[in-house]
Amino acid sequence: MSSNTLNSEPAAAALDNYVGFDTITQQIEKKLLKRGFHFNVMVVGQSGLGKSTLVNTIFASHLIESKARLAADEPPRQTTEIQTVSHLIEEHGVRLRLNIVDTPGYGDQVNNENCWEPIIKYIKDQHSAYLRKELTATRDRYIQDSRVHCCLFFIGPTGHALKPIDIVVLKKLSEVVNVVPVIAKSDSLTLEERQAFKQRIKAELVFHNIKLYPYESDEDDEQEQALNESIRELLPFAIVGSERNVIIDGKAVRGRKNRYGVINVESEEHCEFIYLRNFLTRTHLQDLIETTAQIHYEAFRAKQLLAIRESTHPASAQPSVASPTATMLSSPMAPTVMSPSTIGSPATMGSPAQSQKYVL
């Protein structure tokens, strides 16, 4: 069928016979299964909120250790450190390389000014490393993706409102990474207190103009929009984490046994852990990776390239972003504990036509 220009809507054609190009989904799947997936998650929150426990609970394995200060003569941390742990987990033939970035020392000191800077720097460093790899003349076929796909932000269960430091950090984080807020240790809140707290938090987020994942998108169909709406209703997730099992009704489930009752972590009536787990792993995993690549990385990349152009043409106005230029061009990558085994690329299954950069 002919069309006038390449850019107008192509005319629809009817097929007389079965051609067989619908097997492309299986071909893509086979390729991706061979390559494996990368998922990088970061946990941010004050000490003692159960970050390490929650990550271990979500992925049902002991992945990270709690970084508590357990001895009296151990000095408290003086700055926020960034520690990355990498694990390869497999389920039904699908291999997932999971990188967890922990931020011990965040918000723990007496003076917490600029405690978020190491975190923001780390996220930007990952973007800039990826950009550098992308811009080299002879680049790898599949660039290893170390960009942070999701940041779980832990809010303390005060029951009142967000703390000033939380607001500042949420603002800064939501500009560079997908932020998913969770209410930690929510077994200290009754159901009414939990609802009230969530309303307050949502009001404050709207007031301070903080954009959280999931974002609005025009591409979503009705089903996806409904799902995103329901997720947005539920944010922030009120969770309880536990690595240990308790016996409830003869079954061993993960939970916490108190002096007055037994909390079942996997029950929807007790806490929202199941919703968070499904959200992270069963429904939005691919979308998180894609949004990081398409929204956050693109924004970073645009700023960087404009800055480079400004700096090479000094006649124009002053450069927009000064420091990332320096980090991109000269400084070394932030050291990460990642074993370079499989070279994977972000799974952009949905739109191979758009992103020609990612060779499938």
Binding site: S47, A71, T158, H160, K185, K257, H270
Partner: protein, 402 residues
């Protein structure tokens, strides 16, 4: 020398007299609660005294401006039980630990405690001491966040600064998030931290003449410090139809008054039922006296054991005399300088007029000389016999023909 009594005298009735008197005057207790916001301080105070001392906090609208310093707010209530009246003051410290930068957040609190000591010291030194009001803080409940790990740097810093000025009673807030083992481990780590930093938390003194039961009770209460507490002012029904105070979760109801669920009962016992008077005494006898000694010796006053009267007035008179003399000396120098200035001015003027006179004198002298010379000329000409006029006219002609 202990003597044995032969019969009944009756002074065993003395405590009853004291009791009657103190019940008539009523009691007074001031307690301070310190901790980050959202740890349940107001709820705990309401639970301790079974009344709504603190009204429910209304959530504020989210704003951009937030307070930058720790405030000090105090609420006083009069409660009565069985004819005994208690004036209870609770001092709250909103804003503590809530900012991004929490350095110096203990300073307003420390200043408040010390200013109360100062007020009491001033009252003691007044001439008329009939009405003395005791506003000093008798106990400070410090709320620790239930992280389960150890003390935070802010906690350690606060306790280090305040433990010499107030009775510190640490409590673990919202202890319903911790399991039994976590509570035990947490308490151990907190106590280890406290010992490591040499912090003096409140220890109940043990008296030798107490009976066994009281001693055992006291020891049990003190062994639970820091108290792991849960506060609630709501009531629920549990199985058996009883109404208890507690918090209802989907997985159970935690009862505040149940000793197996939390340490609230022990805290209440210590704070109100057994040790309230001890706390007040310790504040008065030890903490206040230490403060007073430090302050007075800083002011330079030495303790003179031979003299009974106060050293103060004599020193004051000395100071006053010195000040007076200084003032006089200053006035003298001032007057002297003024005098000098005037003298100089006058001298200057006189000198000027002298010069003027001299100049005039010189002028006049010159004029006189000139006149004399002229007259001499005239005389010479006269004596020479020449007519003056033609020469003069010639002279004139010369002079005019110039």
């Amino acid at each position: 020398m202990r003597k044995k009594l032969m019969g009944y005298v009756g002074f065993a009735n003395f405590p009853n007299q004291v009791h009657r008197k103190s019940v008539k005057t009523g009691f007074q207790f001031t307690c301070m609660v310190v901790g980050e916001s959202g740890l349940g301080k107001s709820t705990l105070v309401n639970t301790l005294f079974n009344t709504q001392i603190y009204p429910n906090k209304q959530p504020a609208e989210p704003t951009h401006d937030c307070p930058q310093t720790v405030e000090i707010q105090s609420i006083t209530t009069d409660i009565e039980e069985n004819g005994v009246r208690l004036r209870m003051t609770v001092v709250d410290t909103p804003g503590f630990g809530d900012f991004v930068n929490n350095e110096e957040s203990w300073k307003p609190i420390l200043d408040n405690i010390e200013s109360r000591f100062d007020a009491y010291l001033e009252q003691e030194n007044r001439v008329n001491r009939r009405k003395m009001v005791d506003n000093r803080i008798h106990a400070c409940l410090y709320f620790i966040t239930p992280t389960g790990h150890a003390l935070k740097p802010l906690d350690v810093e606060f306790m280090r600064r305040l433990h010499t000025r107030v009775n510190l009673i640490p409590v673990i807030a919202k202890a319903d998030t911790l399991t039994e083992e976590e509570v035990v481990a947490f308490k151990q780590r907190i106590l280890a931290d406290i010992k490591h930093h040499n912090i003096q938390i409140y220890q109940a003194p043990a008296y030798e003449y107490d009976d066994e039961e009281t001693i055992a009770e006291n020891r049990e209460v003190m062994s639970k410090i820091p108290f792991a507490i849960v506060g609630s002012d709501k009531e629920f029904e549990v199985e058996g139809g009883r109404r208890v105070r507690g918090r209802r979760y989907p997985w159970g109801v935690i009862q505040v008054d149940n000793e197996e669920h939390c340490d609230f009962v022990k805290l209440r016992q210590m704070l109100i039922r057994t040790h309230m008077e001890e706390l007040k005494e310790f504040t008065n006898d030890v903490l206040y006296e230490n403060y007073r000694t430090e302050k007075l010796s800083a002011m330079g006053i030495q303790q003179d054991p031979s003299v009974f009267k106060e050293v103060n007035p004599v020193q004051k008179m000395e100071e006053e005399r010195l000040a007076h003399e200084q003032k006089l000396a200053k006035m003298e120098t001032e007057m002297r300088s003024v005098f000098h200035a005037k003298v100089q001015e006058k001298e200057h003027k006189l000198k000027q007029s002298e010069e003027e006179l001299y100049a005039r004198h010189k002028e006049m002298k010159e004029a006189l000389d000139k006149q004399r010379i002229e007259l001499e000329e005239k005389r010479r000409r006269l004596e020479a016999g020449r007519p003056m006029t033609p020469e003069k006219s010639k002279k004139k002609g010369f002079s005019f023909n110039k």
